[in-house]
C-alpha cells in the first residue's frame, strides 16, 4: 500500500500509532497535504456513516476519531494558509443545567470532530451563563445544547434567552437536540437548528457555518 492508503486505512480502522506514522511518512514523501486532509475527512465521514448504520459501534468510531486527530496533529504545521475542512469552526457544547446524561452529546462531539470541527465539550449539567462565557472565550461559531429530560428542556431556552439579554445572540448559531426534543420545540425556543441524531447534528453544524449539507 502507498503511504496515503496506509494513513487512510489506519484512520478508518482506528489505529492511532499507525495513523501518526502514516502522517509522518506522507509528509516525508511530499504528498499534497491539503488533498490528503480532504481524503481523510471523507474517510471519517464514511466511518460516521457506518456508525449510523450500526455496522460499527461507538468504541470503533471513537478510535477512528482519535487516530484522525493524531494524524492531524502531525499534518497541521503543513496546513498553514488554508486547511479546508480541517479548519472548520469551533463548536461549544454541553448538556443543560440539571442534566447529567451525556452520551448523546458525546457521540455528537465525536461526529463533529470527525467532520473537522474544533469541539469544546463543557460536559453535563452546564449553567446557561457558562455556555455563553465559554463560547466567547473559544470564539465559537456554534453552540450545541443537549437535553435528555423534559424537566431539563427549559434550561435550553434559558441559554438562548440569556444570549439575547447579553446582546450576543447574533454571534452564534445555536443547535439543540436530545431524545425528548423536536424540530417544533427547537423553533419555539428560538434555536437555529435541531437534529435527530449525531449524523444529523454534524450535517446541521456544517450547514450552519456555511459548509452545506
Amino acid at each position: 500500500m502507498t503511504a496515503k492508503e496506509n494513513l487512510i486505512s489506519a484512520v478508518a480502522e482506528g489505529r492511532t500509532e499507525d495513523a501518526e506514522a502514516g502522517a509522518r511518512q506522507a509528509l516525508s514523501e511530499g504528498l499534497d497535504v491539503h488533498a490528503l486532509v480532504q481524503e481523510l475527512t471523507a474517510a471519517m465521514r464514511e466511518v460516521g456513516a457506518r456508525f449510523e448504520r450500526l455496522e460499527i459501534f461507538l468504541p470503533e468510531m471513537m478510535a477512528s476519531a482519535e487516530a484522525m486527530m493524531a494524524a492531524m496533529e502531525v499534518l497541521r504545521p503543513a496546513l498553514e494558509g488554508g486547511a479546508g475542512d480541517a479548519a472548520r469552526a469551533t463548536v461549544v457544547m454541553g448538556t443543560t443545567r440539571g442534566d447529567m446524561h451525556e452520551i448523546g452529546k458525546n457521540i455528537v462531539g465525536v461526529m463533529l470532530k470527525a467532520n473537522g470541527f474544533q469541539v469544546v465539550d463543557l460536559g453535563p449539567n452546564v449553567d446557561p451563563l457558562v455556555f455563553i462565557k465559554r463560547a466567547a472565550e473559544a470564539g465559537a461559531a456554534v453552540v450545541g445544547i443537549s437535553t435528555l429530560m423534559t424537566t431539563t428542556m427549559p434550561a435550553a431556552r434559558e441559554v438562548i434567552e440569556l444570549m439575547k439579554e447579553y446582546g450576543v445572540r447574533d454571534r452564534y448559531k445555536v443547535m439543540v437536540g436530545g431524545a425528548p426534543t423536536s424540530a417544533a420545540w427547537a423553533k419555539e425556543i428560538g434555536a437555529d437548528g435541531w437534529a435527530e441524531d449525531a449524523a444529523g447534528a454534524a450535517a446541521l453544524a456544517m450547514e450552519l457555518v456555511g459548509g452545506g449539507r
Partner: protein
Amino acid sequence: MAPMWDVVERAFTGPFCEEQDYLSRRLIPALQAAVKRHRIKYDPATPVPWDDALADAVWQAAVELFLEAGVYHQDTHRIILFSEEEVREALYAAPESYTVGSGRDARTFGRREVEDARPPFCILSPDITYDEPLFLPVCLAYLREPLLDGFCAPVLESFLGEKIKAYTPLELGGSLEHAMSLREAARLIGRPGVFLVAVGTAESDSAQISVSQEGWGVRPTDSRLVGSITEFMTNNQLLNKAVHYRQYGCFSGSLTGAIYGGYAGGAEGTAVLETAYHLKGLLVHFCSYQQNFPFHLKYGSNTTRELLWVTSVYSQAIARNTRLVQTSNGFANAGPGTDMLLYEAAAHALASTVCGANLWEIATARNKCHNRATPLEARLAAEVGHAAARMRLTRRQANEIVLKLLQRYEAGIPDAPPGREFAECYDVAKARPRPEYLDQYRRVKRELGEMGIRFCY
C-alpha cells in the same frame, strides 16, 4: 459486604482518573477483553438462546469487568473498586425475596429461575410524561389492572401549570404533587397498600428526599430508584439518594440501561455490561433489586432482535448465577392503538419471563411521546408472562414464538407508528379502555393463542 459508608469513602479515596480516560482506556478495553476471553457471540437466529454455557460465560465476564473497571464517580473523578471477596460476600448476603406493599396489598417480590413456573412479579408503568390533569386518571387506569403487583406512575411535566425545571422548587412541588396524587389514586381504587415505585418526577436528590413520608408520601414498603449514568458511573446526587433510601428503610431499584451501539459496542458487550450493572446496583447503590432497560442507540427500544437477545442472556446470567431480584423493562418502538406495540409487548414479556426476569411493562413509541402509553399493552405483557410461566414454556419454545412475532413487526421498526394518546384509547373519566381498543387487544391476544401461548384466562 462493604458497609455503606465504606463505599462512600472509596468515592473520595479511590484512584484518580479523568472521565474520558476511564471510558476509553479502562471500561471499554476491559469490556471488549472480557467478551473476547469468554468467546461470547451474538446469534441473530436465536433471540432467546437456551445455551446455559453462554449465560454462565456472560456472568463470568461481568464479574471480571466489575472488578477490573470499577465504577467511576463523576464528581470526585475517582474509581470505586471492590475485591472479589466483597463481591462474593455481597452476592451471598443479598436477599432473594422481599415482602413489598402493605396490608392485603402486600406481595412477595422475589428472584425467579430460568423457565420458572412461578409467574413474574408485574410492575406496570407508562414510563413517560403526561399532562398534569391526566395524572390521576392514568394512575387509576393502571391501578385497575388485576395482574398489577406494583405500579410506577407517570412523570409530571408541569406543576400548577408551570413547566417543571429540574433542581428547582418547581421540581420539588411537582414531586410532592406526584407522591400525593399517586397515594390518593391507590386509595381511591381500593388498593391503599399497593407497592409503589416513586417518584419519577424527582430527578434531584433533594426532591426525592422531600417525598419520604409515611402518611401522604412514599412509604418504607414502597420503592425508589437510583438511576444510573452511562456507562458505569455514579455521582454525589446518586449516592445521596442511595444513602437516603437505606436510612429511610424503603426498597430501592438500580435503574440501568446499557446502550447497544454505544460504549458497550454490540449485543455481546451490552449483555455483559447490563449483567455487570447488577453488581453496581448491589454494591455501589445498595439496591434491593435491579431494574434493567438495555436499549438500542438508534431506536431507544429493546424489542429489536439484538436487544431481545441481550435481555434473554443477561436475565439468564443473573438467574442462573445469583440470588438477585431482577426486573426487565420493555421499551417498544410503536405506540398505543397499534398491533405492532402489542406484538412487541408480547415478545419482550415472553423472552424476559422464560429467562428468569420479573416484568416492568411497558414504555411505548420509543419512550419519546408525551401522553402516549396505556395500561392495555402492559396488561397483555403481564398476561403473556403469567401464561409462559404457568405453561412451563421453555426457552426453545419461547424462541420459536418470538421469531414469529419478529416476523410481524421487525420490518416496521425503522418507521414504527407512534400510535395514539391515552385519551384517544381510553375513556378518561371512567379510566377504562374504549371498546374498539379493547377489541384490538382481544384480537391480538387470540393471535398469540394461535402461536402457542395458553393464556391463564
